[in-house]
Each structure stands twice: as structure tokens, then as C-alpha cells.
């Protein structure tokens, strides 16, 4: 029995802007099993949101899929007709929680109407014989919105940031999705609210058994929620491994450095800084994208692009000298 929900094969995406070409994603290979939470971490511009959008088929018009395939439950979603994809998958089998809850609800319609629309057009069969109003109240209550009946009759501006995110979670889970893409869902929230939402999400994962791609820049959040972690750098997934190994035994110099950038409990040590800046996606360095900033870099790194190396502990890393990583720790 194939448990694979999603398989991304050699995905390459290019953005065109004023005759410049930006390599947003290059050679991405990922797969996701049922009920698995994949954390995608990386700094801004590393291509993590582009990945989410490409699976939703919501890439902006200037983006082109140059190469590669995305298989969802064995079907190549790049080749499905848009009308069919929209009717059967987007917002139904594959749902999305955007980064900014403030801009994601329509300000001129009541929250109830927006949620009920989704139930009506995307999740009818889940609520056979049930009243749509009742279904909406049920899901909102489940997401921890008190007094749901009354709140359905309110407008988005009457909701706080955390509550809006709960509404968006209702919309994402009401269809009982196979795959949920969460793009920095807690970045705009305060820590105590963030903790509430993460707790809620953890409960929902258990209940719905949905697979989740959790995109974030926060290593702390990933270390709490993900089963497996993919680290992105300048459009490439440079290391993929389960959570324990990625954080305890990183095998890519970038992952190692990123973990050391975190302020720890001790005030005495200086924070590690990765020298230089993220490369320009329209003018990437030769060889390995990370070599100009890498302390392990050798001649080979400047000339050849590393492929993904299989690691003994089940992960993959895109570094020629991964065996040396951690030696200077």
C-alpha cells in the first residue's frame, strides 16, 4: 500500500522580471507520507513559499515551472486541467493557511458567509444531511472560538489576529484535507497566541491525520511540530532529515550554522554569524550555492554543484564534504 501523498520530482521554477531570470527553486525532491508533518525552514528568499504556492498551483504569472513534476496521490498535478484542479483539489484535498491572517479574509463579507461558502462548495459530502449553519458552528467551536454562533455573524475586523487564524484553520480543516500547506501561520501572532495555535494544530493533526507542509523561518517552531525537516537555501533543499537528526546531527554546513545563530541560554558565548549574505537569485554563485559563506568550502565546491547524498541515518544532504560537518563543533 502506497502511503505516499505527495512526491515532488526535480522541480525547477524560474521567475522572470524585467528580462532578469531568478532561479526560485532548483532541483527540489521531496516526498510526504500520510499524516506526516514536513517542516520547511529557510531564510527569506530561499524559495519555501514558492514551493507551497507551486503545490497549490497558485504561482504568480511571472513564474514558470521549467522542469519537474508534482505528484499528488500519484497524479501529476501540473497536467490536470485548471477547472478540474480547482473543483477537486484546491481548497478541498489540498488546503492552505496563509501567512497573514489580516489580509486573507474578505473584509466586506461576514465571517460566517465566507466559511459557509467553503462548506457549501468544497465540503458538502462531509456534512451530508446536516445543516450548513450547524456545520459551521461545529467547526468553529472545535477551533476554539467561543460563542461561535454569534461570531459567525461578525465581520473579519471584529476578530483579533489569533481568532482570524482560527477561522482560517476552520476553513482549511473543514474539508478534511489530505494535504495542508501552512505558510508561516503564526509569524504575525504574539507568542502566547502562537503557542495556542500550535497546540491546536498539533491536536488537529492527530485527529484529521492530514499531511502537513509547515513553512516557517522559526527553528523553534519546527523543532516542536515537524516529523521531518527540509532546510532550504537559495532555492535548493540542502538537507532533509527527521527532526531529531537535523537538530542534533546536522550534516550540511548551512544547517549547522543556522542552529548556532540561535541565542541560547548562556550570555557568555558570542553568537555564530554566517558571513556574507544570501546570494542574488538572478546571479547565483558557481558550484554550490553556499560555498562563498561556507567554512568547509574547498576547490571542488566552487566548480561542481553537489547533488543529494544519502546519509546513513536516512536523511539527505547536498554537501560534498558532509562527513566533515560537525568536526569543529
Amino acid at each position: 500500500m502506497d502511503n505516499k501523498i505527495l512526491a515532488v520530482n526535480k522541480l525547477k521554477i524560474i521567475y522572470k522580471k524585467r528580462k532578469q531570470r531568478f532561479l526560485a527553486l532548483d532541483c527540489i525532491n521531496l516526498d510526504l507520507e500520510k499524516g506526516e508533518v514536513l517542516g520547511v525552514v529557510g531564510e527569506s528568499g530561499s524559495g519555501k513559499s514558492t514551493l507551497g504556492l507551486s503545490i497549490m498551483r497558485l504561482l504568480p504569472p511571472q513564474a514558470r515551472i521549467k522542469n519537474g513534476e508534482i505528484f499528488f496521490k500519484g497524479k501529476n498535478i501540473c497536467q490536470i486541467k485548471e477547472s478540474k484542479f480547482n473543483k477537486e483539489m484546491r481548497g478541498k484535498e489540498i488546503t492552505y493557511i496563509p501567512q497573514n491572517p489580516q489580509n486573507s479574509l474578505n473584509p466586506v463579507f461576514k465571517v460566517g458567509r465566507q466559511l459557509k461558502d467553503i462548506i457549501r462548495y468544497r465540503a458538502k459530502e462531509n456534512f451530508k444531511g446536516k445543516d450548513i449553519d450547524q456545520a459551521a458552528v461545529e467547526i468553529m467551536t472545535k477551533m476554539g472560538i467561543a460563542d461561535a454562533e454569534k461570531r459567525l455573524d461578525e465581520y473579519p475586523h471584529q476578530f483579533s489576529g489569533g481568532m482570524k487564524q482560527r477561522v482560517l484553520l476552520s476553513m482549511a480543516f473543514v474539508t478534511n484535507p489530505t494535504l495542508l500547506i501552512a505558510d508561516e501561520p503564526t509569524t504575525a501572532l504574539d507568542v502566547t497566541v502562537e503557542a495556542q495555535i500550535l497546540g491546536l494544530l498539533a491536536d488537529l493533526i492527530k485527529e484529521y491525520r492530514s499531511s502537513i507542509i509547515y513553512i516557517t523561518h522559526d527553528l523553534g517552531v519546527v523543532s516542536e511540530i515537524a516529523d521531518r525537516v527540509a532546510v532550504f537555501y537559495a532555492g535548493r533543499a540542502i538537507e532533509i532529515n527527521d527532526r531529531y537528526n537535523i537538530f542534533n546531527n546536522p550534516k550540511h554546513p548551512y544547517t549547522e550554522a543556522l542552529i548556532r545563530c540561535l541565542p541560547g541560554e548562556s550570555q557568555d558565548e558570542k553568537l555564530t554569524v554566517i558571513p556574507g549574505e544570501i546570494p542574488d537569485l538572478s546571479d547565483l554563485p558557481s558550484g554550490c550555492n553556499f560555498h562563498p559563506r561556507c567554512k568547509y568550502a574547498k576547490e571542488k565546491c566552487k566548480k561542481e554543484k553537489p547533488g543529494l547524498f544519502e546519509l546513513e541515518n536516512g536523511g539527505q544532504t547536498a554537501c560534498f564534504y558532509h562527513e566533515e560537518v560537525g568536526r569543529y563543533a
Binding site: 523553534g220 550554522a257 553568537l271 554569524v273
Partner: protein, 326 residues
């Protein structure tokens, strides 16, 4: 020696009343942004204020620099109240107290070259540095914060977020201040860049013997950089003390919950699920009676609903505003 001393600071904002309010003869709504805030910062220390958005930490920062007028209370700079200063003394205060703004993009004038932006402090405070030495000083500081001298001939939009931050830091250092208010200096930056800025701020502090008031909602950063920390909730400081002490052993239920909520970087094999605080921050227009935190507090008792707890000494270095401290 206390560089800054703040006593019972209070700030209200008035929400403009709409037509309905006027028709019914109701006055403007009062937002209690800051109430009863007191703290002092000794020379060479970093004092951090933490709290969720809307708790009044940025308002405190602006009040301390007198960028906005306070409602009541007193602010002392080296023992002298800002209200009692002569114009000249106040100029001296402004020279010595610099500000690094939260929004690093909009705090740099997009129509000016970085060199012009950095020379501006000299225009406003002539005579601090000899005119002939201005250029030298600018170059020195620019190098110090890790930028090239070429940066002086560029416009702010040509810089990345981390570099723009460095320009903000350079501007703050121009007049050789003793005290810098840093309002969320690392928010919106990527992890590795944020680490670089934190290291820079630490080095500068050592080199120039600076004193910081550090405003942040990022508890990991605060724990790393500050000597003392004040936790704010709904305009009040609810706990204040030595950073490591407060983090290891919070006395106020809110501090405990806040520290608990931070997604801690875990290397455990098993997923951890944290206890979370229920509810959200109430509106400062209509704060709950008694302790502002009582509706969310799991330890709250009858007294908490009626009496506002005062900030009391708990032990040597710690002040807590709770009737039943942990």
C-alpha cells in the same frame, strides 16, 4: 549611577469620538497605554522590556526620549528630571540619548544619500564635533558597524534589511551617546542577520560603555542580551528583575506563561507539547478590574478581581505585581 530613572510613568491616548458618541454626550475613549511604570537603568546595563503587542513597551520607549508627552510621572536623566531641564540641558539629553527605530526602512529618508542621513545629527546638534572632523567621524562609524565607505554614496533602498539596520545603528552612534533606546532592533530580520546585529550591539556596548533600553518581544534575544528585564502586560510592568533570575524562576503567573510559550528549540526525540495560556490580551480601553491579568490567570482568586496589585519587592532584586506570587 542611574542613567535613566522612570517614576510612575503614565500615558493615555484618546481615541477620537465619533458622531454617535458626540450626540450622546460621551467623551473620547481613553486608552490606558502605560500606567504606573517605574524602573531605573544603571550605567553600562541593558534593561529589556518584553511583552506582547499592545502592552505599551514602545510607548515607554518614546516617552523616555520625550518623543511624546507623558500624562503623569517623572523621568530623570542622571538624576535630573526632564521636566526641569533648561532648553540647553534638554539638548544635551537628546545628544546623549539615541534611538534606533523599529521600522528601519521608513526611518531612513529615501531621498537622501546615506552620507547625508548620517551627517544629519551634526546639523541638528552643531558643535558636538568639529566641522572638519565630521567626515572622518562618519567614515569611522560606518566602518565600525560593518559597512563600506561606498555605502555613503548610496540611497537607503539599495541596502538589504540587515544593512539598513546597520545604517540606523550608525546614525544612533554619531553623536557619541551614552544611552540608546533600541526598539525591536532584530525584528523582521533573518536569523543569521539578526545574530550579526546582536553581536554588533554587544561589541558597541563594550567599546563605548553604552547603556541600552532594549524593547523586544523576542524572549530568546532578551535573555541573551539583557542584564535586567521588565515584563509588561496591558501597560503595566508586572515583574522586573535580573534577567537570568526572572527567566529561571518567574514569580508572576504571566511571566511564567510567557516564558513557557516561547517555542523553545528542542533537541528531544519526542515532540513536546507545551502548556498554553488561554484567552487573549484584553482591550486597554476597558481593562478588567483588579489585576489586569486575572481573567487569564490560572491562579487567580477573589482578591485579584478587585484589587490592583502593586509592584512590591519580592526579594533583593525582584519586584512583582501579584497578590499571590509564585
Amino acid at each position: 549611577m542611574n542613567i535613566i530613572e522612570v517614576r510612575d510613568l503614565k500615558k493615555y491616548f484618546y481615541k477620537k469620538s465619533g458622531l454617535l458618541y458626540k450626540l450622546f454626550g460621551l467623551g473620547p475613549q481613553i486608552i490606558q497605554a502605560v500606567s504606573q511604570v517605574s524602573f531605573n537603568i544603571e550605567k553600562g546595563n541593558t534593561m529589556a522590556l518584553v511583552g506582547e503587542s499592545g502592552c505599551g513597551k514602545t510607548t515607554v520607549a518614546r516617552l523616555v526620549l520625550k518623543l511624546i508627552e507623558k500624562e503623569a510621572g517623572q523621568i530623570y536623566f542622571k538624576g535630573k528630571a526632564l521636566d526641569e531641564m533648561t532648553e540647553e540641558e534638554f539638548r544635551d539629553y537628546r545628544e546623549n540619548a539615541a534611538f534606533i527605530a523599529q521600522d528601519f526602512r521608513s526611518s531612513l529618508n529615501p531621498r537622501k544619500l546615506v552620507g547625508e542621513i548620517l551627517a544629519e545629527p551634526f546639523r541638528i546638534h552643531p558643535g558636538v564635533i568639529d566641522k572638519s572632523k565630521e567626515e572622518e567621524r562618519i567614515k569611522e562609524i560606518v566602518n565600525l558597524v560593518g559597512l563600506n565607505e561606498e555605502a555613503l554614496l548610496k540611497f537607503p533602498h539599495e541596502f538589504s534589511g540587515g544593512q539598513a539596520r546597520r545604517i540606523g545603528v550608525a546614525r544612533a552612534l554619531m553623536l557619541n551617546p551614552e544611552f540608546i533606546v533600541c526598539d525591536e532592533p532584530t525584528s523582521g530580520l533573518d536569523l543569521s542577520i539578526s545574530a550579526a546585529i546582536i553581536n554588533l550591539m554587544r561589541d558597541l556596548k563594550k567599546e563605548f560603555d553604552l547603556t541600552y533600553l532594549w524593547i523586544s518581544h523576542n524572549l530568546n534575544v532578551v535573555r541573551y542580551i539583557s542584564d535586567f528585564v521588565g515584563v509588561m502586560y496591558l501597560g503595566r510592568i508586572i515583574e522586573i528583575g535580573e534577567t537570568q533570575d526572572v527567566f529561571n524562576n518567574p514569580s508572576h503567573p504571566y511571566s511564567e506563561a510567557l516564558i513557557e510559550s516561547v517555542p523553545s528549540f528542542s533537541r528531544q526525540k519526542k515532540k513536546v507539547q507545551r502548556k498554553t495560556l488561554e484567552g487573549e490580551v484584553p482591550s486597554p480601553i476597558d481593562p478588567p478590574p483588579g489585576c489586569p491579568f486575572h481573567p487569564r490567570c490560572k491562579y487567580s482568586q477573589a482578591k485579584c478581581k478587585e484589587v490592583i496589585p502593586e509592584l512590591k519587592t519580592r526579594n533583593s532584586e525582584r519586584l512583582v505585581a501579584c497578590h499571590f506570587p509564585l
